[in-house]
Symmetry: C2
Subunit: 306 residues, 2 copies
Amino acid sequence: MMDKIIALDVGGSSVKCALFSKTGTIEDRWGVPTNKGAQNSTLFEDIAKSIKLRNIDLDKIKGIGIGVPGPVVGDTVYGAVNLGLDKTDVKKALEEALGKTVPIYVENDANCAAYGEFFTLDNASSLALLTLGTGIGGGIILNQAIYRGINGSAGEIGHMNTGDEDALTCNCGLSGCLETYASATGIKRHFLRARNQGIKTKLNQSEINAKMIFDAAKAGDSLALKIIDKAAYHLAKGIANMNVILDLDVVLVGGGLSLSGAFFTEKIKTYFQDLAFTPLKGLEIKTANLGNDAGIYGAYQVVKHA
Amino acid sequence: MMDKIIALDVGGSSVKCALFSKTGTIEDRWGVPTNKGAQNSTLFEDIAKSIKLRNIDLDKIKGIGIGVPGPVVGDTVYGAVNLGLDKTDVKKALEEALGKTVPIYVENDANCAAYGEFFTLDNASSLALLTLGTGIGGGIILNQAIYRGINGSAGEIGHMNTGDEDALTCNCGLSGCLETYASATGIKRHFLRARNQGIKTKLNQSEINAKMIFDAAKAGDSLALKIIDKAAYHLAKGIANMNVILDLDVVLVGGGLSLSGAFFTEKIKTYFQDLAFTPLKGLEIKTANLGNDAGIYGAYQVVKHA
């Protein structure tokens, strides 16, 4: 069993777990329901129990990589709101739960996902992964390494201000953040505001979601199309603004919204060409490759390249 | 003479040159007028001649660091508009002019300046230097190293879009770039546009410059104050947007406009607190330390840490 790697991706509802072989294939995968809560959580015990149940010889693994949804500095996550978790030394907590000293590598989940995607690409040394879901997450790879930032908060592109006169207030308290335009929530809010203002649309259901707005846009509904165009425009502006700072090889678009495929990505690319600084128009923008598995692949790579 | 370092900072009108001692003090400094032009420039010959004139034993120096105003990848600058210089292998050109193989390290001038400033700070591992002059330049230090980007164009924060409804067109062809608001040129353009629209000001001369607008603002002129406030607001927005990507220790404000000191920096800091993502409000913003010498100090450090 020497050199196998355990990869964990802690999400709000479940922990994705995988055992990787020496050659980087997934030998076994399982899930653990996420037990939320601050000090009384059994999160790490639940993970440890699931590993022990599988009879994995911990003396013979290369290590455990774990992605957590919060800012990470060293082995500590500085709070994970979606888990109800306060500041926690993740390495120590997992070691205690395992009752054993094991090489454990702790990383932010968005950074893990970006790192996982990085190894699917040829000839790229730097990239950003934008994950478009309820919010917008970001992970950055520079010179082939994860870039964390001083507080573990690098890559928070969802809170870049791309706002204009129709800006909405963000969960974070600011106004005009990218994710108020281009996350699933943001797209829905802008659509509903316009519909409530009396702008005509065929999408008249009271309960709607971003996918329905995408589908209506593809079917030619003019309001839906306008809102999706606005989301693509703001993403392109955010990417152009990020890229004058970072001068990257490639930006990958992942998360639920990227599943609408070329329809959305092509719009982003078109606006990007209008908005990009001329020497940097060569940036490649494309759909991410690993879908929901980016996190566990990244956690595996973190251990492999530690 | 062992271990001395020659530092060169190539500017549009002159090349700043310095000989650094082993301990990092400047033993000698001189200037060379910048001979501009594409293929027929004597720029490198002029620099080489000035070095030879000083009887510096090139066999006994640690190296030559040279900062050039254009994107650098490897030893090559991919064009330097202000010098009228096409794509040039700077190391090769300077070696040929010296008639000698010497360790030569080529770097972008803004990166050099940022690296020079970096060594004036305690306990910082990452920073951005914003140079506010005719345009806005930027250099970035991440994890204690210069960050160049794929095309040598990282840190071009002057071309971040922070624009709103009063955006002006930039030299680069885009609209709403940060430098159209907050460079010396941008401040003057916004002031003149407002004055031409009939907004009252005591600054009525036909020939004005950014310094006069700063002075008028300090003296309480309401239009001048409005324009300087606008510049500070857009700088704060640009810094906040950069920092959600990079999560830095510190941002330094340098260049001619920073000479107005606390008056301007305090405005930037105040707007930054309004615009920053809450977990990143701790970013330090302050005036740069080395003024016009940042470039040669940085070129020295590039050789020292090569």
